[in-house]
Each structure stands twice: as C-alpha cells, then as structure tokens.
Symmetry: C2
Subunit: 151 residues, 2 copies
Amino acid sequence: MSHNSLDLARTLHQSGHRLTPQRQIILDTLCETGGHVTVAELYERVHGRFPAIDRSTVYRALDFFGALGLVSAAGIGGATVYEVAGQGEHGRHHHLVCRDCGDIGHVPDDLFDDFAARLRDDYGFVADADSLTISGLCRDCGVGRGEGGKG
Amino acid sequence: MSHNSLDLARTLHQSGHRLTPQRQIILDTLCETGGHVTVAELYERVHGRFPAIDRSTVYRALDFFGALGLVSAAGIGGATVYEVAGQGEHGRHHHLVCRDCGDIGHVPDDLFDDFAARLRDDYGFVADADSLTISGLCRDCGVGRGEGGKG
DNA sequence: CTGAGTGCAAACGCTTTGCAGACAG
DNA sequence: CTGTCTGCAAAGCGTTTGCACTCAG
C-alpha cells in the first residue's frame, strides 16, 4: 500500500483538494481488494462498513483519484472495473479477461512491445501502452478444451 | 455487400426465423455505413428513412444478426459499436481506436498471432482471435507529436 | 391460418447531477 | 470563516422487456 494518509493529504493539497475520511476509506478499500473491482462491489464493501457513505461519493472519489492518476479504470466486458494504478512493480500492464470464469489477469507491458512496434511500422498507429484488454480463456478454463479457441 | 435478399432469407429460414423489411433495412443501412456504428447512429439513419421503425427493433435486429454471426459488436470507449462481420476479405481483425480523432482502424488477425502465441506459452492464456481493441494515436494524429508513444 | 416479429411505452441498471448542509483547512 | 465535499434524491442515458397487434411464411 503506497498511500499513507500524510502522503495522500499532501498530494491532494497540491491540487487544491481535500482529504476526507470518505476518500481515504474508498481508496483503502480499493487497495484491500487488490484486483479489479466494479463500482457495485466497491460500494458494497465500503457501504457495508460505513453505511453513511453514498454511491455517488464512491463514483466521485473514483473519478477524482482517476484524475490524479492514483486509480485507473478499464471497461471490461461491458462493465467498468477499477484498480489502483501502478500497483507494486507492475507499472503498465494489460488485461487478460477469461470469457469463461471472468477472471482478470495481468501481462506486463513489454510482452506487447513487438506487437506495438509492428503496429507502428505497418500502420503508423502508436498504441497506448496500457488499458489493453484481451479476452480469451485462462489457463484453468482453457485446459481440456482442445484447440477450440480459434473457432 | 454480400447479403442479397434471397441468401439472407435462406439463412434466416435455416434457423427458423423470418426475413422482415425491418431487418433488411437495418442490415442494409449497416452495410452502407461501412464502418463502425453506434445504435444511436444506425437508428438515426434507419428512422430517418423509415420513421415507423423503432429503436427496440434496431436493438433486436442487431442482437439477432449478432447471434447469426452476420454482425459483430465491440465495446469501444464506453460505447457499443456494430459492424458487418467478416467484411470482404477482412475476416478476423482487431480494432485500432484513435484516442484523438476517435477513428477506428482494422488490423488483420495474423499480426496478433505472435503476441497470442507468447500469451499462450508464458501465461497459458488462449486469446480470442477477435474483438481486441487497441487504443492509441492513428497515423494522422500521431504525426508531429514527437516520439512520445511510449511515455 | 400460425406464431415470429413489430411498435409502443414503460422499466431497467448504471451513472451523473442539483442542491442544501457539513466539515477540512 | 471559506468553499470543497458530502448525502440525498431525482434525472439522465443507453438498453431491455411485456404486451397486443401485424404480417411473413
């Protein structure tokens, strides 16, 4: 967890904003969950412990932290999921979404480099290094399915 | 345009469904547009010429053609866009979405093969061959931006 | 004829917003 | 004190659904 209250407070003040308990709770809860969370799930958790906190506050906090670069959002399978940005050493990464179990895995940026280079060379398209979402079958769900993945 | 009325009618009958003017119009309009269209845009066009056609009919037709594999949907930048599946020789392809001008380009499947192979080898993840959406800057918008593509 | 498909309108789920009051600074 | 932020409640947006009627087959 890389955001202790003091650092966070300072960061917020730099941009002329405030550190409220709600924001701390929401960010903490997001950190605890670790992975990708929908607003609904996050609100469940937050609201479970602090019933006074409203859905709209969660939305606003998520949006707010997003603008600060502390939280990143990804649209996966129609739903919007949030995660703490730059978790640990992960830095940039892409998402592997299993279409079977819904699990979301990470791939480091560099695996994508070759592909991105070809995109640039052949199409003149400079791909963003993050927020790439790849759907498919994860290791567990893909086992014993044969080569049906291409069909 | 690869769907003349007779072929289409036959295809539908095979699955025990009907060919209605609404469906023809909606599919035709989608073909005319050529690229990626939102339901709103498609409805605009369809409804412009045939005011009696309802939004829900557009949704249902799109869903219906999707189930038949004639139309494919992709969630891009929070919006859902539709296109005729397997347009010409394109077959499987991925989407290059320019974050600047919003333009959507295509990349053939095979460019993705190496990346997919590494995903499979290193992560045991069998990527679906289509519906991959890559955000970035297209040739036009990327020009004159410096080499900041990685940062 | 028969029932798949349509138009209508209302419901739906997720997200945003206007407002008055609350509280961090 | 100031004005940012909150909770509430209601609106907004895109999408789905129940219903009676219509029309393709």
